[in-house]
Symmetry: C2
């Protein structure tokens, strides 16, 4: 076959809308583009899994938590490095995406559909990543112990509140008095210091096998409460920026709805769960345990989203409730492959969206930001580490580990930066500083957490040896 003939055929194929439809015989999506969106999503998933395994395996070998490797793998394929996986939200265009270029060169995608395929593919991958963190929190809930969480509840509440107040006050006052930052952006930056990324902490704890420990349950409990406090803080700061005053009614609404949702879903859920188990036992078709569990989790996630809380709170509550049923083990086993599929999408996307260019000190405008960032990082770490020392009760607890577990700001902190930037309240330097602080705390927490948990183990082993 000559090249010419091949090209002719190829052009005919590429030009024919009818044949493009033929390649879609099983898809029935909207016209020609659907095939390319599917192809783009398949390529994205291949890249995501490759990045997550490359990073994860390397980290596992140098004794760092694999999830850190997934984040770094994400950075490598993302906007900061190879630009395979980029998103329109961070200002990238279709021609910036290597995946779109690959689709054009290997699958004959015409240029005119490039931007709409890019938008659709990014939309789908973002949504898979959101499902990833929902399924992660469902799994964490399944592995948690509701009774233990209630028992450590008061401790976790103190940890959460101190972990919000301390970095907020220190950060805001420091910016005002040391750096002369105006009040509103200082409050915004202070607020960004309050967040805790439950996803990253929970994943590291699970990897260390410490999720079930008392420290682990305190961290998870405090991180969940922090998530709610974070929503409240953001609402307060946002209303302050918008109207110049704080709306008490809104704070009350948020606090009450969060409390009603969490307590209500757990109480109602415990009534409903025996019915679900009974239903599952009656079912005869495949996947009955998994799908019933997921439907329960998705319903609670939907309710949480609908009342302006977060979907992951609902998924976590569903996991907690179902962990108390006889189906826990079966459900846990079936959720594992699903989590293996979805969760890396979340972590790699977080990494891929992290723009490391703000860290480049060669750019003059970055320098002011980097100096503020250094201050914010110190406050961010110390402000959370001290929370561990507020823990009362059991003196054998690893207090340092609890504080360290609250360090990562993750994607939660980035939203503060994004909202602040959109409201025009933040200077470029302050925004960059917040982003640098978020990146640093997110990437430093996993290895630190492993370190502080190792120390306990070594200490405990030493004590065990002495006692033997």
């Amino acid at each position: 076959m000559t090249d010419n003939f091949y090209m002719l055929t190829w052009n005919w194929l590429a030009d024919s809308p009818l044949l493009a439809a033929a390649t879609e015989v099983t898809t029935k999506s909207d016209g020609e583009e659907g095939t390319f969106v599917l192809a783009g999503v398949l390529l994205s998933l291949v890249i995501i899994y490759f990045a997550s395994k490359l990073g994860g395996e390397l980290c596992a070998r140098i004794n760092l938590p694999p999830v850190l490797g997934e984040l770094v793998g994400g950075v490598l394929v993302g906007v900061s490095a190879f630009r395979l996986l980029v998103f329109p939200e961070s200002g990238s265009l279709a021609e910036d995406s290597l995946i779109i270029n690959l689709l054009q060169s290997t699958a004959g995608m015409p240029t005119e559909v490039a931007s709409s395929v890019f938008a659709s593919q990014s939309e789908v991958i973002s949504l898979l990543s959101e499902l990833g963190v929902i399924i992660l929190l469902f799994e964490i809930g399944l592995e948690s112990d509701l009774k233990e969480l209630i028992r450590v509840g008061p401790i976790a509440a103190v940890v959460a509140v101190v972990g919000v107040v301390a970095p907020f006050v220190a950060g805001t006052l420091g910016l005002i008095y040391i750096f002369g930052t105006p009040v509103v952006p200082a409050i915004f930056a202070g607020a960004a210091l309050t967040a805790t990324s439950i996803g990253i902490t929970a994943k590291v704890l699970a990897e260390l096998g410490e999720l079930g420990s008392e420290e682990g349950q305190i961290i998870i409990g405090a991180a969940v409460l922090d998530d709610i406090l974070g929503i409240v803080v953001l609402a307060v700061v946002a209303s302050l920026v918008k109207t110049g005053e704080i709306q008490i009614s809104n704070i009350i609404y948020l606090v009450i709805s969060a409390a009603v949702f969490l307590i209500g879903s757990i109480l109602l859920g415990r009534l409903v769960s025996p019915l679900l188990v009974g239903l599952v036992n009656e079912m005869k078709t495949r996947g009955q345990v998994l799908l019933t569990g997921l439907v329960f989790a998705f319903v609670l996630s939907y309710i949480a989203t609908a009342i302006h809380l977060e979907g992951i709170l609902g998924a976590f509550a569903a996991g907690l409730i179902l962990a108390e049923t006889e189906k826990r083990k079966e459900l846990e086993e079936q959720v594992v492959p699903l989590a293996d599929f979805f969760v890396p999408i979340f972590f790699v996307c977080v990494g891929a969206q992290t723009d490391l260019s703000v860290l480049n000190p060669a750019v003059p405008s970055n320098r002011e930001g980097l100096i503020i960032a250094t201050f914010l990082i110190v406050v961010a770490i110390l402000g959370k580490v001290i929370t561990g020392f507020t823990v009362f009760g059991n003196p054998n607890l690893n207090k340092l580990a609890i504080g360290v577990g609250m360090i990562p700001r993750g994607e939660v902190g980035l939203v503060f930066a994004g909202v602040g930037s959109a409201s025009g309240a933040l200077s470029e330097a302050t925004e960059a500083a917040i982003i640098v602080m978020v990146i640093s705390t997110t990437f430093v927490a996993p290895p630190l957490l492993r370190l502080v948990f190792k120390e306990t183990e070594t200490a405990t082993e030493a004590v065990d040896k002495v006692q033997e």
Copy 2:
């Protein structure tokens, strides 16, 4: 709290773009809409699983294949009945979707974002459904036996070719001579009779435990070949409609690329798979078997899509290749929950997109279509059933079962109707007739298949009893 206060708070919440962003702390999607898209997808999944389990469990109880129940469940929640799950491709608007209405009434979604949220949510669900059929074919490949498939290859090839030629010739000539249909639409309708929906047949076979039987492997082999033949037939017919002549070069390209792809991927895959197994054995992090298998499947699916074949062919080939490795069992176990998650989305969406209004004889314009449809259904069923009797070799084979296994046209047939309608070659009556034929063959095949396989079993049992 008074209603008024509640409404005030609610309005404040709904109006505040800042707070809407706050509810997205883990999502980072594009602005306010992202949260509603996530909420819409969660609701859609809840509805899909509810429909699939309701239909599946009912069918399992009246001794019909569960997958038929998933299709019927899809019809119930789809465009023909409750309109919970509708798609823009079938002409539905945002206000037709009950999910969008629910988002507006329960999650306070503003009307102005309704159509873009509807478009995004439909896009994501369509893509999940496409991933569903890819994962289904990967699973079917894993459960198939390459050696057995090669052994039954010649038989399957005859079944596939006869199953394409017989209904095509009978349908086209019948329409021309009995109904006086013009030549081009008659050829189009004849071509629509050639398809086989591998998804539905394979799922029913798996449910009956007949996937591994010789009949099962002949059906799967023939259905895969039919899928390729279907692409060729559609390309030929489309070029005939477009240019009035048949482009031999294109047919040659498609046939050669399909053959090169299938044979090449299996040969190369057998060389690569020991390396993959070696790699997996070196890995230390979670999900290594599943993700390596999926990456392999997605790469082959991408290649198949890029060369204008179908993604599912690549996934099937990947499954076949990995089934020959020592990881088969582990991989099969881990794919099951993933298939439980994704596959129902595909079947429920097929049902949801089926518009039963063409079956209403009260509408005068449907009547002509229904008469033509009756003819097409007879040809569709007989044209595939006779293929079983072309089977040579083993005289103990259930020849009727093989023919019946080829009956469902499923989504493949609908694409013919869609392409024909888009090209303007089909009259409304002919298009409706094709749709009715597709619906009937798709819904009648699962119970028929169960019936004919039961008969063999009873017969075999009777023979066994006599011999005892």
